[in-house]
Amino acid sequence: MQKEIIIVGLNHRTAPVEVREKVAFESSLLADSLKRVCSLPSIQEGVIVSTCNRVEVIVAASDGETAARELKGFLAEQEYPEGHGGLDSHLYTYTADAAVRHLFRVAASLDSMVVGEPQILGQIKDYYFAAHEAGTVGTILHRLFHRSFTVAKRVRTETGIASRAVSVSSVAVDLARRIFDRLDDKTVMLIGAGKMGGLVARHLQGSGVSSLMVTNRTFERAVELAAEFRGNPIRFEDYPRYLTLADLIIGCTSAPEMLLERDSVERVLRERKRKAMFFIDLGDRRNFDPRIHELDNAYLYNLDDLEGVARENLKGRKAEVHKAEEIVGEEVTAFLRWLESLDQVPTIIALRQRLEEIRKREMEKSLGTGLKELSERQREALEDMTAAMINKILHAPITHLKRQGRDEDEAVYIEALKKLFDLGEK
């Protein structure tokens, strides 16, 4: 009767990418795999989560140990690359409260490679709904996953864990947002074909920038890049003339000499009536004169600066982790309490009620007659004593019943109880 939550899986810490890739579940086969999990003898409910950083099977099972063994076998049926030792060496198993805690931590992005990254919650939701559709989710996992979504939301809103940019391109966007109130009416100029520059440009486009100019020493490459980014190509010798139009300028060339000097930027700023300009220098050597940063309304950040901010932010995130762990702890306790309440078989509840009724009736009888003279405190002491007696008497049979709960004799014991105490069907 009693159900346990078991998680067996591997993640970015326990398995290298080659292993994770192979063990991962194909989305087209997911429904089928879910049904296979639930057809294992000890398992009643199951959800599979399979992202590039983790593969986990989360189940509700009537016997934890058997379920863990069966799940390992199930995962071993996945493809496995050679030369990485046994799959077992990469797997972890969580049971009971540790399993609940693990899922809550994963959903809240405390277990992610980059702590606080937001994608994982969406992925877990997708896999939960896939399982829901395949019909492999019951009362317990339903509740467990919905709680995990709540935990993730609480952690996001009540701690600063997700509020800081931790990658170079998101820091760049973050800074742009501190300078400009909106990005959709801003123009970006991308100078050079470096990979980092393209990444930042993409991130800016993702944040609303629609106007992009691209220039490169070879015009053909500029045209290619412009097509890739849906921007306008500009000849390299012409780009200084277009600078007045650009609000964000990304330099990502390997040029040995400086592309922009302080004085030329000062001239551009004057032409722009000192509208703010944000220079992002991602070149191998300096593309932009560092003294540009000294000009009013001009801001220059190079790769080191951006990485510095990202590092600081990551530190800030880690400082928030303990707050998040506290939230997870609270929620785990609440969930386990719910799970335990499920665990009380109707017969046990009926037995408790029967004995409680007897106790109450006898107490009333005695207090109304022979024990009339008792003081309030004595009455209370008597209440406590009789209640404690009932609990002591029930302790052994209930423990036994719970342990036996997974056996086939269960029905026999329950039947016997019903007969002995005249519990009857209600």
Binding site: T157, E158, G160, F180, D181, K273, R274, A276, Y299, Y301
Partner: protein, 273 residues
Amino acid sequence: MEVTLLKVTVVVYLLATASFIVYVVLLKEFFARLSPLILLGGFIIHTSALAVHFIQTGYPAIMQFREALSFYTWLMVGIYLLVQLKYRLAVLGCFIGPLAFIMSLAAFAFAAGREEIPPALKTYWLPLHVTLAFLGNAVFALAFGVSLMYLLQEYQLKSKKMPSLYERFPSLETLDRLNYLFLVWGFPLMTLGIITGSMWAGVHWGKYWSWDPRQISSAVTWLLYGTLLQGRIAAGWHGKKAAVLTIVGFAVVLGYFLWGDYLFPSRHGGRFE
């Protein structure tokens, strides 16, 4: 009654200030929504205090320095609440909240003067003049707030250090635009305040301009803000320069409002003889 209401107002402004500070430190959205509501509560109580005064005396509460300070605070909070409606700038409240608290408290520090107003002064030119001049200055108080925020945000970007305390500051562009907006509203109000003041003076003192120290200081700030507005419109002054000038202008206004009458006694500030 009026005094009790004013005392409650001070306490509520203090609560609002505390709530704004909690918001800036903890960055909990809840306080961003709560703090302006507390301030609104204070504003309503403040309004009723002013209404009680008007009903009891038949005249707006602007005749004494303490009353004027309180009235000015009321206008400033009111304008901030309007701005908050449109721009959701809880951070700006962190400047306005404490300012409202300090000024409404300071109003109590000044002794209640003579209650009687010379009959000659009981015209509606005076309340009109005071209201317009104070409205202008209250708008400048908000301009002062956003300018201060601008300088803090700018300092962070230039120093490349980003403490989380200022994470919720609006962008430089937004702050700069608000500076412009407040300037565009504040300047005409101030101008009208000066015009109505000198009209009133013309009627009661017989002279439109009498080189009263308050008149001189008003002229100075008027020129300062006028230059700034002109610079913004014609020469495209932006950002830091505009922020610094706004702060200087407000410092002059506030400084003179608080201490000017002690340094240069004049017919303003309740001395009408």
